[in-house]
């Protein structure tokens, strides 16, 4: 491979990686937020993403909505689902050992996956193309307009989330709860409400990701959330879990690493490489790229 074509390939892979990474980032945003507030690895988050995709499917095919209303519908429905899940499965366990809540989260994840299989059969469904994809061909480099939309949405949502968390009263309450739940409660913050809101926000983000990704890939099935959910969590940890820009950064890094490994090595080692990088980063910077090292006070 000569230098020119190598460079050309490299840039194309970079584009592929960033576009894939923005999907991970989109899911990771909600993941990281929920973790930030209640320190729960919400394994069901990937399934909320799936749920969002199905809500979008219902909205576009059965209710005949166009893209934006369908997106809003899916986000709202997923927010409700998120609140219900938190209320039923996680809230009663707030003082339980964390590993027990984790098992509950795994249970919820199974329930959503196989409940959906029961309702919608395991067959994949095709998601209607609600807006057309234009393929731009710039100097031999291929970019799809949908890729740009996904990356743009991820950036916008990240910015919005950062604004909500840093500049609104609700965000202040969230940060307080995340910092010290008991103290926040003593200061008159209704932590139940804050946590519900976090789940609603996180779940609607996942749903937005679900709808966008379904439009992009065109196909949805009840187990579609398993792998992306896992990858998004890895991305969140990579960037520093609980940190919103960290989720974005982690997602993009994961995507680029996967694209580069697939492109210049072998796609079968793609996931191994992604996990390998995560472990290396954890060993050198245990709290993730943007995380602060917190030392237990002795």
């Amino acid at each position: 491979m000569d230098m020119g074509s190598f460079l050309h390939q490299f840039v194309q892979q970079l584009i592929n990686g960033v576009s894939l990474g923005s999907i991970y980032a989109l899911i990771a945003l909600g993941y990281t937020m929920i973790y930030g507030i209640i320190k729960l690895i919400n394994f069901a988050h990937g399934d909320i993403y799936m749920l969002g995709a199905y809500f979008g499917f219902v909205a576009t095919t059965m209710l005949g909505l166009s893209f934006l209303p369908a997106l809003v519908f899916a986000m709202a429905a997923a927010a409700v689902a998120g609140i219900v899940i938190e209320r039923v499965a996680y809230r009663p366990m707030r003082n339980a050992p964390r590993i027990a809540i984790l098992i509950t989260a795994i249970g919820v994840s199974f329930f959503l996956e196989y409940g959906m299989i029961l309702i919608a059969t395991p067959q994949p469904r095709t998601f209607p193309a609600v807006f057309d994809a234009t393929v731009y061909n710039v100097a031999g480099l291929v970019i799809n307009s949908q890729q740009i939309v996904i990356l743009g949405s991820a950036l916008v949502l990240m910015a919005a989330l950062t604004y909500i968390v840093n500049h609104t009263k609700a965000g202040k309450a969230m940060r307080a709860v995340s910092f010290d739940m008991d103290a926040a409660q003593l200061m008159g913050i209704n932590i139940d409400k804050v946590i519900s809101m976090t789940f609603a926000l996180g779940s609607s983000l996942a749903a937005a990701a679900g709808v966008l990704v379904s439009i992009y890939y065109n196909s949805i099935d009840p187990l579609m959330g398993m792998m992306p959910g896992m990858k998004a969590f890895v991305a969140a940890v990579l960037g520093g879990i609980g940190i919103i820009p960290g989720a974005m950064l982690g997602g993009i890094i994961m995507g680029v690493v996967e694209a580069m490994v697939s492109g210049f090595f072998s796609s079968t080692f793609r996931d191994a490489a992604a996990f390998g990088i995560l472990i290396l980063i954890l060993l050198y910077k245990p709290s993730g790229l943007l995380g602060k090292n917190i030392r237990e006070k002795v």
């Binding site: 320190k39 690895i41 499965a89 009663p92 366990m93 339980a96 050992p97 590993i99 027990a100 809540i101 984790l102 098992i103 509950t104 795994i106 249970g107 919820v108 994840s109 199974f110 329930f111 996956e113 196989y114 409940g115 299989i117 029961l118 896992m230 969590f233 890895v234 940890v237 879990i241 072998s266 079968t268 080692f269 996931d271 191994a272 996990f275 390998g276 995560l278 472990i279 954890l282 060993l283 245990p286 709290s287 237990e296 002795v298």
Partner: protein, 319 residues
């Protein structure tokens, strides 16, 4: 001290009786082949959950990569018997040692991490192991390693299981085991009490990984095949669920968890469509009502349960 010896001998006798009864039931086909298969599966799962309990429950290190070590045992064992044509007993030993060695190599760097970070790192390592196996054509790659003879039977699983249970029980009731408990309770205090925390964490991790390897050898030599799809992170979750459901840090709990979940799964085979839904609801409900697991970190005591049970765990014996 004679008391301890006496207790050990009594439990061992209990095991013999239990074994004889079960073996007779199987011989006279009162337990049919389907339940025999599930009893073997329960036995393998007990080895897995008890060994994971040593890492997660007793030492307090949150590991969810157990399926990786299971895979290493399954494959190395199969290489010994299928590829090299050596006896099954050797496969058991080599499979155990290989998984243990890998556990040691992985544990050394990663056990510096704690909590969720360790969890995600072990999860990743488990997947890396699986992906590597998937890419080794020598062991069949994605098609799996086939043609493995069925060497495992109830007797093997039973006695290996008893061996593992006794091993871990005695470990926990010794100075190194108590060091592990101390690390779980308070790592900083443990270190200031003169405990080399890294050493004992790695020790527990290695032992746990090694026994997962043992389970792997038994597994692949019962089901004729070692296939990468059997060792995904979902399998790790399964094992973790057994341990947590039974009660972290409880031997009786780990055993009960394995029996219960394998049993539920076998029973629900009647209702394939609903199986996972019922399973997941059961999981959620049990966790909601017993977040500390069925046993908490307590043990069944000899007084409560005379036959075969052993009062392993945290309490000082033989006073």
């Amino acid at each position: 001290m004679n008391n301890i010896r006496k207790q050990d001998i009594m439990s061992l006798l209990g095991c013999f009786v239990l074994f004889a009864v079960m073996q007779l039931l199987i011989m006279f086909e009162i337990i049919g082949p389907f339940w025999e298969l599930n009893i073997v599966l329960i036995g393998i799962n007990i080895i897995l959950s008890v060994s994971l309990n040593l890492i997660n429950g007793y030492t307090g290190q949150f590991s969810i990569g157990h399926a990786g070590f299971l895979a290493v045992g399954a494959y190395t064992g199969a290489i010994i018997t299928v590829k090299l044509g050596l006896p099954f007993e050797l496969a058991l030993i080599v499979g155990t040692l290989c998984a243990g060695l890998l556990g040691f190599l992985i544990g050394l760097p990663t056990l510096r991490l704690n909590g969720d970070y360790l969890a995600i790192a072990t999860l990743g390592l488990g997947e890396i192991i699986r992906i590597c196996i998937l890419n080794i054509e020598y062991v069949g790659g994605a098609s799996g390693l086939m043609g493995i003879p069925r060497e495992t039977n109830f007797a093997w699983v039973f006695w290996v299981g008893i061996f593992v249970i006794f091993f871990i029980k005695n470990f926990i009731n010794s100075a190194p085991g108590r060091s592990c408990l101390a690390i779980r309770e308070n790592e900083i205090a443990a270190e200031t009490m003169g405990i080399d925390t890294t050493k004992y964490k790695v020790m527990a991790f290695t032992i746990g990984a090694a026994f997962a390897g043992t389970a792997g050898v038994l597994f692949s030599h019962y089901f004729y095949i070692a296939h990468p799809a059997s060792f995904t992170f979902m399998r790790s979750f399964d094992i973790l669920t057994m341990v947590v459901l039974g009660g972290l840090g409880s031997m009786s709990g780990a055993i009960t968890g394995a029996v219960l979940l394998t049993g539920i799964s076998a029973f629900l085979a009647e209702y394939p469509e609903w199986r996972m839904v019922i399973y997941s609801i059961t999981l959620i409900v049990l966790m909601l009502y017993r977040p500390q697991g069925l046993f908490g970190n307590k043990e069944l005591s000899l007084k409560m349960f005379k036959l075969g049970g052993d009062n392993s765990g945290r309490t000082a014996e033989g006073k």
